[in-house]
């Protein structure tokens, strides 16, 4: 296979482009300066090109967001990096009580052009405090928008969309994706065709098997996409159960309208995520699907999460806690019956 750029390279290039085209975009975070370029190399080359707009900070998430909020409030477009998404809890107050509320609490709508980048997810053996998926903690905050990195979407478009939205955004980036190849056109693996549905800059990637009516719909954010593809591939090759996979870019607010027709047609849907069970994004999506597709559902919406547990460091123990393509395949097989 010829090489495609890696997802991390694509994200790095997107940051270069957005800083180049917007003089009011700042980047702020820990260890983001060259030559280190951030813990995952995503900010590589930025401080060399835009020295006065790339701010490196001590370990101080709450302060990072404080500075970013001040920049946003005064009309700039800051992008803040959490070195690990787990640390975003330290900035929870700044995000929920200041960033999100500033859009509306001053009497007139005040655009807040703020993006918070969060490397999340496990499967690297980084342990309980560097492997979490904290998306659920930010659901349902008025004016706070959540997005997720995917191997299908072009980050130049997604990042530009978030920077211009005028509402604070959190971008969850599954760290495993950084080193994966980005998918650029053509079929996904040997089975799935890819097309986009919904509107730019945050369309939903739709993966489907041509000429085959799907029996199941899988809703999977970017970090889960490859595991969903692997599980769906096995399910089809071994049992001829066809799945259609939807990979949204925007997690919240989530618009289930795009899914209503395909879910109603298949009658069975599975929502998969890396967070532990309870008050999760999957539950939010399931609720919307119950509201829109109640009469057409042939089985309860199936949620697949990680185990109700902290995430172990040892790889073999971590594997049992997080969603794997095998555990997902098992859940899908049950759902299909």
């Amino acid at each position: 296979m010829k090489r495609n750029e890696r997802v991390g390279e694509n994200l790095n290039q997107a940051l270069h482009r957005v800083m180049e085209s917007h003089e009011d975009v700042y980047l702020i975070g820990e260890d983001v300066l060259d030559p280190y370029g951030g813990a995952f190399n995503i900010t590589k080359g930025l401080s060399d090109r835009f020295a006065d707009r790339v701010l490196t900070t001590p370990i101080s998430e709450n302060a990072i967001l404080g500075v970013a909020n001040g920049l946003a409030l005064t009309g700039n477009k800051p992008i803040a990096e959490m070195m690990f998404g787990d640390f975003i809890t330290l900035a929870f107050d700044q995000i929920v009580n200041f960033s999100a509320k500033s859009v509306s609490m001053y009497g007139a709508t005040h655009p807040m052009h703020l993006v918070v980048r969060c490397p999340v997810g496990g499967r690297r053996g980084y342990g309980p405090t560097h492997s979490q998926s904290p998306q659920k903690h930010f659901l349902g905050v008025p004016d706070l928008h959540l997005f997720e990195l995917s191997p299908f979407h072009d980050n130049a478009t997604v990042l530009e969309g978030m920077v211009e939205l005028g509402k604070p955004c959190i971008f969850f980036e599954d760290k495993v994706l950084y080193t994966e190849r980005r998918h650029q056109g053509g079929p996904v693996g040997d089975l799935f065709s890819l097309e986009f549905t919904g509107e730019d800059p945050f369309p939903v990637a739709r993966l489907f098997i041509e000429d085959t009516a799907p029996e199941l719909v899988i809703v999977a954010p970017g970090g889960l996409a490859q595991r969903a593809v692997d599980a769906a591939r096995e399910l089809f090759l071994q049992h001829e159960i066809a799945c259609e996979i939807y990979v949204p870019s925007a997690l919240y607010p989530f618009d289930a309208q795009l899914l209503a027709e395909p879910v109603a047609r298949a009658g069975r849907v599975c929502v998969v995520e890396d967070a532990p069970p309870g008050g999760s994004w999957g539950a939010e999506v399931a609720h919307q699907l119950y509201s829109t597709c109640w009469d057409s559902l042939r089985a309860p919406v199936r949620l697949v999460h990680s185990a109700d547990s902290v995430i172990p460091t040892a790889l073999h123990l971590e594997r049992d806690v997080l969603v794997s393509s095998e555990s997902l395949e098992l859940a899908l097989k049950e759902l299909a019956q």
Partner: protein, 386 residues
């Protein structure tokens, strides 16, 4: 010959990029010469030769390669390299028709099993023109192959039921020396009577119901017509007037039996015929309903049918057939011309038991009964014992 394999460079990546070859294909290299550059998600690394020899590149620059993969070879000299390449080329040539590697389609497990079971070749699978092949695709392919190979397109498979009918007709022609007589019968009176009775009883009564009752009543006067021929020179007379009647609504020909038809009214017979039609539609007759007839009435009373010559059921001596009702002009007794409604009633009879003269008498008796129908007959106590 030494194989150059991809070393494991980190734990994160399943594949590395072969960025470029630093030594040319076929070049002579010495130990510690740079051979190629591999790039992981973290870093680029050069691989050096561990031996002296002639290089063969097995993978092109730009490809992704997993740890452990063979990406090149070092040969002792150019001759050894040439010999290896020639052998590899020959092996590839013989492999092309059987190898499934590099196939441009994906098979599901079901498709793979089906293909193996029916000996479907890769060429046949490719001819489907599909990228993804399912079990049902292979099934369809096998069905098409079977259809084109084994069954000519003009061959129609006969149902079990039709084969059974064929066997009976063949047996009849083979064993029964049949003769045949037809008589024309006026039905104006019978039609008027059935119309009046239908209105009164709420049951649709047709000529067949009337004919069945009249036919059944003839057993006392014509016992030989209700009999079974015995090879030893006897006719075994039936003791009950069970009348078989043909019913065919497109799902096969059936001959259910109106039992003791001589004790039934036309209304009761008409109701039974109605039940028979439902059973014929659904094909759910019980075996007992189709057995025990002493004589059979073949109904061919569709419009424009003059008459159909029936066979004689092996085990019976006669079959009566009813044609369609005709309208014509007749001379009345006073010399005037009147419209007349009539049918042709035929009688096929076993000449070993019945002769033409009796056949005519039988038909004349039927004609008299039909022309002055006595439809109100109620069930009488059995006239004969048994």
């Amino acid at each position: 010959m030494i194989e150059i394999t991809v070393p494991k460079l980190n734990n994160n990546d399943a594949q590395y990029d072969l960025v470029e070859w630093l030594a040319e294909d076929g070049a002579t290299v010495t130990k510690d010469d740079d051979l190629l550059t591999l790039e992981t998600s973290k870093a680029a690394e050069d691989l050096v030769s561990e031996h002296d020899g002639v290089l063969h590149q097995a993978v092109e620059a730009g490809e992704q390669v997993p740890p452990g993969a063979v990406i090149g070879r070092i040969f002792a000299d150019a001759a050894a390299r040439d010999a290896f390449l020639a052998a590899a080329e020959a092996a590839a040539a013989t492999r092309t028709d059987t190898s499934g590697e590099g196939a441009d389609f994906v098979l599901t497990a079901q498709a793979r099993t089906q293909a193996a079971e029916f000996g479907v070749t890769e060429e046949e699978l490719r001819s489907l023109g599909k990228r993804i092949i399912k079990g049902s695709d292979v099934e369809a392919l096998v069905a098409r192959r079977r259809a084109s190979e084994e069954i000519p397109s003009n061959r129609l498979e006969l149902s079990q039921h039709q084969r059974a009918i064929g066997a009976v007709v063949t047996e009849s022609h083979r064993t029964v020396p049949a003769s045949f007589t037809v008589v024309r019968m006026r039905v104006d009176a019978a039609e008027a009577a059935t119309k009046e009775l239908s209105a009164r009883s709420g049951t649709a009564i047709g000529l067949p119901a009337v004919l069945i009752t009249q036919l059944a009543a003839l057993r006392a006067a014509f016992p030989a017509f209700f009999a079974t021929y015995d090879e030893d020179g006897y006719a075994l007379l039936a003791e009950q007037s069970h009348v078989g009647v043909t019913v065919d609504l497109g799902n096969g020909l059936y001959i259910p039996v109106v039992r003791d038809a001589d004790r039934l009214s036309a209304v009761e017979v008409a109701e039974q015929l109605e039940d028979f039609r439902f059973s014929a539609l659904r094909g759910n007759f019980r075996g007992s309903e189709l057995m025990g007839a002493a004589i059979t009435l073949s109904l061919n009373n569709d419009e424009d049918v003059l008459l159909t010559q029936p066979i004689i059921f092996p085990g019976q001596t006669c079959m009566v057939s009813l044609g369609g009702v005709q309208t014509g002009l007749e001379l009345a007794a006073d010399g005037g011309v009147v419209a007349a409604r009539y049918v042709h009633v035929g009688l096929a009879f076993d000449h070993r038991v019945v002769n033409g003269r009796e056949a005519v008498q039988f038909l004349q008796a039927l004609k008299s009964a039909l022309q002055a129908p006595e439809l109100e007959r109620t069930a009488e106590p059995a006239a004969t014992a048994g």
